[in-house]
Symmetry: C2
Subunit: 253 residues, 2 copies
């Protein structure tokens, strides 16, 4: 496999396209609805930018669709050549979408990581979840060129993993955002909390999260809990989250 | 300041006593209601174990109470010599508790970190929050012997910081626990999520958490959200948490 075309030019497509380009792959074309976005990425990986799927050629050995989940189906319908080897990078769209839109050779190429334009990622440590109808080995070997952590994961497992990731990453980040907001509202330096945040994330690499739970909820310290809830009297949303998570930690004991 | 007595022999007392012992301090006495716990720690820091506060001597330059928040007041009442220099390590008990129980020379010595017996901590990076009625400089210098991150924090600020820490640490850990439980219920390897967890925690050291929020909630991806909620139909607690946090991320946009 030598050449790859990217359908999409967002965070994930950008990280992957650059990584493959650095590994010596030809990036054949870069498609985006927005030609400026396509040009931006195409420029970085010496590729050709297109903003119309009619101009998508069939020269690439692999096509990677990396766009918003809810746009995947409609884009797949617009891809005319149904004989290309095509994949998507979504955590939650099942592999059956390819058969439903008429493709014969397809798979999933899902990097399980949170990508931001503002932060580079060491792809070597990013787990890639691979699935394919025919050419699983090809995709597996391809992912192995970028990462040391490649896994064969079925659509059903991937769906569960994606749900778990929402808790582990998206909801966790929202907890950080609430903490930061509480600090800023009260003129306290949020930086003081950063070592705690780092340690909390590190702790579970060696322990089960459930076994290292600390805080007033797990200690059943009702006095502190009541005090915290009253501090949140003016922030009803936070109060509701505090109450619900506290109850759930106590139930889980 | 040369000698310290610990009232309490739990996680925090153990970490602090060992650190001070290694710095050349004499650990005068170690008190615990449970003599076995007192003996365990006293043994490690060449100290004397006691389980009755009547036998607490007045020889130490500093007394550090490190016990459950709701036991602090009653223990302070049992300490007979009100002229000793006494501190506690709690994030949420205000400094006024010392005056209320008759002490004259007191302060707060609060290491803002999550301590577990199963994991050693590099105290150098742990923020210490210091407050005192008279000898703030003494406590500040003392904390500086253990840590590179010492802060003067008022009781009011400390209360807010502690509340923020519950979100940033305790609730975050519960999100990990839910993710781990979902993986184990569905036979998916939780290890695949660990780089994501690490990256999520690292990301906010350089960005505001709010600015790096990812996931279906911030994208308003209602199809995925509905799919995730339906996956949680048999796990009502998790479903409720999913719904509430998702709503709050969307409100905050």
């Amino acid at each position: 496999m030598k050449s790859i075309t990217f359908i999409g030019a967002g965070n994930v497509a950008t990280h992957l396209a650059k990584a493959f380009f650095n590994e010596g792959f030809d990036i054949e074309q870069v498609y985006s609805r927005n030609i400026d976005n396509a040009l931006l990425l195409a420029d970085e990986v010496q590729s050709i930018a297109i903003d119309n799927l009619v101009t998508l050629n069939s020269n690439a050995d692999l096509y990677i669709i990396s766009i918003k989940d809810d746009a995947i189906e409609s884009v797949l319908q617009q891809v005319l050549d149904k004989n290309i080897f095509i994949t998507h990078t979504s955590g939650s769209i099942p592999i059956t979408i390819f058969e439903e839109t008429g493709f014969k050779n397809y798979g999933i190429f899902y990097p399980l990581q949170t990508f931001s334009k503002s932060k580079t990622i060491n792809l070597l440590e990013v787990p890639f979840c691979i699935e394919a109808n025919e050419n699983e080995d090809l995709l597996y070997d391809l992912a192995n060129k970028l990462s040391n952590s490649v896994h064969l994961v079925s659509s059903e497992q991937r769906k569960k993993l994606h749900l778990a990731a929402v808790f582990a990453c998206n909801f966790t980040n929202h907890m950080y955002a609430i903490a930061e907001d509480l600090c800023s509202k009260n003129n306290v330096n949020f930086n003081i909390l950063k070592p705690l945040i780092r340690e909390t994330a590190e702790k579970i690499t060696l322990n089960h999260a459930k076994d290292v739970q600390t805080g007033p909820a797990i200690r059943n310290d009702e006095k502190i809990i009541a005090n915290h809830l009253s501090q949140l009297d003016d922030l009803i949303n936070y109060q509701e989250i505090y109450r619900l998570i506290t109850q759930n930690i106590q139930k889980d004991k």
